[in-house]
Symmetry: C2
Subunit: 191 residues, 2 copies
Amino acid sequence: MKLMEDRIRKDGIIEDGDVLKVGTFLNQQLDTRFIRTLGEEFYRLFKDENVTKILTIEASGIGLACLCALPFDVPVVFAKKAKSNNMTGEIYASSVHSFTHGTDHTAVIPKIMLSPEDRVLLIDDFLARGQALHALIDLCEQAGATIVGAGVFVEKTYQGGGAEVRGRGVRVESLAKIKSMSVEDGIEFCD
Amino acid sequence: MKLMEDRIRKDGIIEDGDVLKVGTFLNQQLDTRFIRTLGEEFYRLFKDENVTKILTIEASGIGLACLCALPFDVPVVFAKKAKSNNMTGEIYASSVHSFTHGTDHTAVIPKIMLSPEDRVLLIDDFLARGQALHALIDLCEQAGATIVGAGVFVEKTYQGGGAEVRGRGVRVESLAKIKSMSVEDGIEFCD
C-alpha cells in the first residue's frame, strides 16, 4: 500500500540490529487520522468476512486495533502479557518469545472474551518472526473461534514469520512488506 | 453521566480490596461503539479548548484515548511505563506509584512528542489516588505544554486524587463519580 510505504520512508527510522522505528506515528504517538485511513483499507479487504471481534496484543497493538475497529463496528480484545506461565483460572494462554527484547512471556485473555461464535480479525503492528501472531492464533484455536485473517501494518518478509503464519492457513494482509532493510542501504519494499 | 453509570451498574464487578472491574467493556475488551459515544461527551466538554494532542498512559488508557481522539482529530501519545528510574536521553520522565499493584515505575515519553505549542487533554480510565494523572501533568509541565484538562472515565471521589489534581489547577471531568463502593452494599454515585 503506497500510503503506508510513503509514510515509512518519510518518518520511519532504521537503526542497527534490524530495527525500524515508527514510534512517531504508529506506536507511542499515534497519528489517528492516518491510522483510520489504514483501517478503511483493512475493512475493504475483510468486510465480507462478518468479523465479530478484533484481537490484538498489548501494548502497541491496542490503539491500532481500536482505530481499525471503527468501520467494522466491533469490540476489540487485547491479550495481556503476563510474566508467569503458571496462571490458572478462566483464561486462555499462549507463550510468546520476543526476539526483539530477548524475553518470554505469556499472552492471556479471559475465556469470557472469546467464543466459538466469534469470527476474529487479528491486528498487529509488526510481523517479523510471527511470534505474536502465532500466540493470538493459539488463543483463538483454544476458544474454538474462527480466524478470518490477520491485518498487519508492517511485514518484514525476510524474517519468514509471514510465510509461517500463512502456512498455518491464516490469510495475512500486510499494508507494507519490507523486502530488505539496512542503515546503509535504506529500505526496499516488495513489489 | 447516566450512560456511564448505567453501564458500570450493569457490567462492572466489585471485588474485595476496593476493586471495580470494567474489563469487559472498558479495559481488556473495549466496547468501541460505547467508548466513542463517551468520547463525544469529552468533545462536548473540551471542544473550545483547541486541543492539539491527547496524552494517556499505557496500557489501559491507549484504546480509550484513541477512540476519544476521533472528534478532536488529533494525535494520541501514551507514556510508557519503564521499570528503571535512571533512563537518560531525550525523554521526559516522572515516577508513578501504583497503589493497586504496589509497584513503582517511571512514565516516559520522548521529548519530540510534546512541545510548548501543545494544548493537551489528558485521558485515563480511573482516577483514584491520582498517581497516573500527576505523572502525566508532570510530563506536560516539563515540556512546557498547556494542559487543558483531564477526561476521566471513572473517578473514585473518596480516594481524594481528584481533589488533589483539581487543587493543582487542572480541570477534571469525570464521566462517573463513585461516592462509595463495597461488595456488600454495591455502588453509590455522586449526585
